[in-house]
Symmetry: C2
Subunit: 191 residues, 2 copies
């Protein structure tokens, strides 16, 4: 678990961790705001850079902007009027998470070597084209469960368990406790 | 990763994996059926035995009964009119998953040695007594995210990634594919 390497990463035996973004396809603004918000919160907490949301939904974007304001970091929800554009513009491999895909355990070593990954999760209806346009169709178990769980587990496997340090610019942070809650607030400028 | 040990497990260097159950506290039947259903599906797919649900909600129980019918296994959602009874009757450690708790990475070695674990997740309102009555308050990262993700990650860390084999008695199974979907149905007796 050495972290002391210096110099060029190109020859390192332990490659840099991939930069990960998430695309949520098939969001239904009237029905799904809570589930999609959970998805975005998980992406943020587990180290993804941003979530592209198709179709766009200001409720989710605003909710995450509020989280960023209080809890720091630069994660944002980006409106994606056209999901195909996001897939085609992806700088690296596109990983569609689906219970019908190949087991994560088998694909993980390849995914971990990527520099950039776009994870894609569908909602109730997944466009058939997504199965073709993705670089990989990957399953986190071949049972029905939850896109929230699938995103958490693949991010945890790629980037590790989230730590306890606050994100940059956080106004508040949690101090882990054996019992009860402790939240420290910073700054305190009015407004 | 040897699996060839025989005889008494008591002296094994690799202990048996814990038996895990889940308790969902503070479910709101009018608002939460989808999130709580995701939670139950994740518990099932990642190897928990059952989910106790407080307060009870037949919509969630029926939904999971339908999943069991098609996808096999013995997972069930058990009504829990009184959550304290479930906590007090737990045969092993009670692990309350909360963003305010101690980091999972620190507690994991102890949890992995348990024979029985009851995971507890709260909903919008978590009773303060839960922090006291739990054996451990454990966080999967000190950021807001999702109880669905927390349950998936702790189960994955304790029991491993879910495999691709169907559960016992399944009427249908997924055959993992690089592209598209393949579901095999078994039996086929009418009804």
């Amino acid at each position: 678990m050495g972290t002391g390497s210096s110099g060029s990463a190109a020859k390192s035996s332990r490659p840099a961790r991939p930069r990960v973004e998430l695309l949520r396809v098939g969001h239904r603004p009237g029905r799904d705001p809570r589930l999609t918000t959970h998805l975005a919160l998980v992406a943020r907490a587990f180290g993804a850079r941003r979530m592209h949301l198709h179709p766009p939904d200001p409720r989710v974007s605003d909710s995450l902007a509020g989280v960023r304001e209080r809890w720091g970091g630069s994660f944002e929800v980006v409106p994606a009027p056209n999901w195909r554009t996001v897939v085609r513009d992806a700088p690296g491999a596109v990983v569609h998470l689906t219970m019908y895909g190949q087991p994560l355990a088998r694909l993980l070593p390849r995914l971990a070597e990527e520099r950039d990954l776009l994870l894609v999760v569908g909602g109730a209806k997944v466009p058939a084209a997504l199965y073709r346009e993705a670089t990989h169709n990957v399953s986190v178990g071949s049972q029905p469960h939850s896109e929230v769980a699938a995103v958490a587990v693949i991010l945890e496997r790629l980037l590790g368990l989230p730590g306890t340090r606050p994100f940059a610019g956080a106004r508040q942070r949690i101090v882990p406790q054996a019992r009860g809650k402790r939240v420290e607030r910073r700054g305190g400028s009015p407004g």
